[in-house]
Each structure stands twice: as structure tokens, then as C-alpha cells.
């Protein structure tokens, strides 16, 4: 089981300060929206429409020009952030395991948000919701957050993002930004799940994890290929040609994730598990990568 020790917490704290200095990161940024009231100074005016609060009518303009205009406020809505961690069987593969990387990222994102006084909830999913932490708030809940993330274990069901998104959307709870940390190996495709989240009022963001060996598999000749998620096995003969096609297909899969997110305006960060934690942090925070790229 992954443990977040004092060194990890120190690292997270340093990163939270860096995030604050940068004024936030794209993954955690809340969109500024027009609010009816409650966000301090008004930022504009618009025509009055039935249902507007009388207190927000600009009576001064009405007195001078006879027009009824409502004040418009801009700000961020108080909506909880959700971190959805894929814990399907495929996430247990790799060295380090993708699930370990996902836990590390979830812990970091949650920590930074909690320290920034945001409400954060978490959910571990595969083909179902495996575990859930309702939104927590305040620095006192950091321990609870980390304990939850530490206890996420690999589930034996295949990924079904659409099913989980559907269950999440059908709830009566408040929607908010939803960061999906997953390898996106969903046999039905990752697109319907992300679209469902968007339609349900959630603002999906994607942290896509992949193991470099998935793109460059070390197998040739007669092998028994076993699907980690479904447990099925096939006797196949992998030729050089099939291997070339597979590599191209995997590269196209990575591109398809980037392109889909780009088309939808979704923030997407693709992380290789072979990179160092420092490199993950840099990519998550949007900092330039180091030249040598070596492990520290």
C-alpha cells in the first residue's frame, strides 16, 4: 500500500506554494462565471429580466435615465472538485504501477486544493464506483484525504467510464470540476463517459496515464496474450508487421485522447509512468520539462 510520508507532504506543500505563486494551474482552475450576486463588486450591467433580485437593480441609473438594469457579478462558483481515480485491473500493471502514479497525483491535486481552501471529493471507479469520499473542506481534512487515497486498491472489473459518469450525474449532489485520472482503456471508448460528465454539468479534466511498455511491447512470435481487465487469453503469433501496426495504433490512441480533449476544450495532461515524480509535477503544474529528463 502506498504511504504518503513526511517527505511527500513536504513536497506537496512546496508544490501548493508554487501553484499559489502561479495563480493556479489549468487542471484545478475554476472557470469564472457570471453570478447573480455574492461575488463582491459588480462587473457589469444587463437588462432586467423577470426574476432578478430587486436588490441588484441599479437604481441610480434608473433615477438618471429611466432604464431598469440589473448588476452582474463575476466570480467562481463554490462547487466541489471531484477526483475520479480509475482503479481497474489494467491500472495495476506497469512499473511503477499506473495505480500508484494515479494515487500520487490524486493525493497531490487534493492536497493543493484543500490547502487552497476548496472543497474536494474523491471517487475510485472501475466498472462501478468502488470507493467514495464526499467533498471535504479545510486543512484539517488533509489527513482524511490522504488516508482515502492510500486505501484505493485495484478492482477486478474492467473500466466503464460511461456507467460511472451516468451514476455520478444521476445523483442530486452538486456538480463541479471532475478530474479523471485513468489510462482510458475503456472498451466502449472514453469519449461517451467524458461527454456524459460534461452534459451532466461536470467540467471534466483528464490526466491520462500510460506505461511506455504499452506502446513498445516486448513480445514477438507465439505468445498467449491475456487481457488484464477481462482475464481472457488468446494464443496469437505476433509478427514484426503486427507489432509495427500496434505501435502506430497506440500512438494514434494517444493522439485521439489529445485531439478529443482539444476539440471539447478539456484540459488534458498525458503522463508516462516511466517519468520521475518531479516530471509529473512539472507537467501537472505546466512548468517546462528539464532537458536531461533523468531520474532524481
Amino acid at each position: 500500500m502506498m504511504r504518503f510520508d513526511a517527505r511527500s507532504l513536504k513536497s506537496f506543500y512546496g508544490l501548493s506554494l508554487a501553484v499559489r505563486r502561479r495563480g493556479g494551474i489549468r487542471l484545478l482552475r475554476r472557470p469564472r462565471v457570471l453570478l447573480a450576486a455574492g461575488a463582491g463588486e459588480p462587473t457589469g450591467l444587463r437588462d432586467y429580466s423577470p426574476g432578478d433580485d430587486y436588490r441588484h437593480i441599479d437604481w441610480g441609473i434608473y433615477a438618471r435615465r429611466g432604464e431598469i438594469l440589473s448588476k452582474v457579478f463575476e466570480g467562481t462558483e463554490d462547487r466541489p472538485l471531484y477526483v475520479l481515480v480509475d482503479c481497474s485491473s489494467s491500472m495495476a500493471l506497469g512499473s511503477p504501477a499506473k495505480l500508484d502514479v494515479a494515487r500520487h497525483i490524486a493525493a497531490l491535486l487534493g492536497y493543493v486544493s484543500i490547502v487552497d481552501e476548496e472543497r474536494v471529493g474523491a471517487m475510485a471507479f472501475s466498472g462501478r464506483i468502488v470507493a467514495e469520499l464526499p467533498p471535504v473542506y479545510g486543512k484539517a481534512s488533509v489527513r482524511r484525504w490522504l488516508q482515502f487515497v492510500e486505501q484505493i486498491k485495484a478492482d477486478d472489473m474492467p473500466t466503464d467510464l460511461a456507467c460511472v459518469a451516468d451514476r455520478l450525474v444521476r445523483r442530486c449532489g452538486r456538480s463541479g470540476p471532475a478530474i479523471v485520472v485513468s489510462d482510458l482503456f475503456d472498451s466502449a471508448g472514453f469519449e461517451p463517459g467524458l461527454d456524459l460528465l460534461r452534459r451532466g454539468g461536470y467540467d471534466p479534466r483528464v490526466v491520462h496515464l500510460y506505461d511506455p511498455l504499452e506502446g513498445e511491447p516486448d513480445l514477438l512470435g507465439d505468445v498467449e496474450l491475456v487481457d488484464a481487465e477481462r482475464g481472457e487469453g488468446w494464443n496469437v503469433t505476433v509478427t514484426e508487421r503486427a507489432l509495427r501496426e500496434y505501435r502506430a495504433l497506440f500512438a494514434r490512441f494517444l493522439d485521439s485522447v489529445r485531439n478529443f480533449c482539444s476539440r471539447r476544450g478539456t484540459v488534458c495532461v498525458q503522463l508516462s509512468t516511466a517519468q520521475t515524480p518531479n516530471d509529473w509535477h512539472r507537467q501537472l503544474l505546466g512548468l517546462p520539462m528539464r532537458e536531461n529528463g533523468g531520474r532524481s
Partner: protein
């Protein structure tokens, strides 16, 4: 009931080649297990189905059948003549040990190809070796799948 004998019974030792054939086949049939995160990409590259692959066992059966046929051909099976049966052909007399190679008449018959008087051991050893080399080479190629790379 006609009893079958072999003119070159030493050739039956070639049946031992079935042992390395089966060993190589079993080694080839045991595939290394490779766990992949998902099969959805492999499915687009390779035909993944759970139908039993009959080509392997069929290949082994064909190889063993060919080996058996070759060995039987080399051993030269013949019907053993009974005591009442009189020799009806020069070939039948050739299989009997009473054949005297010094007999001038037999030498004459052998000269026109009706009787094989070649000593059995050198002939069978020669063909046994050739057969072993050919079969083992083919087996090794099948095992390595040298045509694929």
C-alpha cells in the same frame, strides 16, 4: 491370416525420431504468457478469437504420419510365406536366408533387377541418417519459424 515381416527391420528404429518431434512440438506449443492492459488495440491488429487452434495438433499428426509412412517404406514390409506356400516370385525367394549369393543363377536374376541382394545394414543405416537429418531440419525450422523473420 497373413503374417507381416520386415525385410529391413533395423529401419524401424527411425520411429524413435517421433520423440524429438513431439518434444519440439510440446516446447513450441507452450507459449509465454503476456498480460496486456487491454486487448482493444490488439484486437485491431491480430485476429483474437477463442476458437481452438487446430493447426498445431494437425501439423503434429501430419508429421508423425509422414514419419510412420517413411519408416514403413524403409522397413519394406512383406507377407511372410507359410510352409505350404511355394515361392511364387523371385522376390519372395530373395527374402529367405537360404538364398545363396554364390549361385550364378541368382546373380543373373539380380543383374536384371528382380532380386535385391544389397546387404541390408549399410542401406538402412544410410537412409536412416538421411531421414533423421531431413526430419530434424524441418522440425527445427518449424520450431524457429524461420520464415517469419
Amino acid at each position: 491370416v497373413t503374417e507381416i515381416t520386415f525385410f529391413y527391420p533395423q529401419a524401424l528404429y527411425a520411429l524413435l525420431l517421433a520423440v524429438p518431434i513431439m518434444l519440439l512440438y510440446s516446447r513450441k506449443a507452450s507459449r509465454p504468457r503476456h498480460v496486456v492492459a487491454t486487448s482493444m488495440l490488439w484486437r485491431q491488429v491480430l485476429p483474437l478469437d477463442n476458437r481452438k487452434d487446430w493447426r498445431g495438433p494437425m501439423s503434429l499428426a501430419v508429421q508423425l504420419a509422414i514419419l510412420a509412412l517413411l519408416v514403413l517404406a524403409l522397413a519394406d514390409p512383406r507377407a511372410k510365406p507359410t510352409a505350404k506356400q511355394t515361392p511364387s516370385s523371385p522376390q519372395a525367394t530373395a527374402s529367405q536366408t537360404s538364398l545363396n549369393q554364390e549361385d550364378a543363377a541368382v546373380q543373373a536374376i539380380a543383374g536384371i533387377g528382380l532380386v535385391d541382394i544389397t546387404p541390408a545394414v549399410p542401406w538402412s543405416v544410410r537412409w536412416f541418417g538421411a531421414l533423421a537429418i531431413v526430419i530434424l531440419t524441418v522440425e527445427w525450422c518449424l520450431y524457429q519459424r524461420c520464415w517469419m523473420t
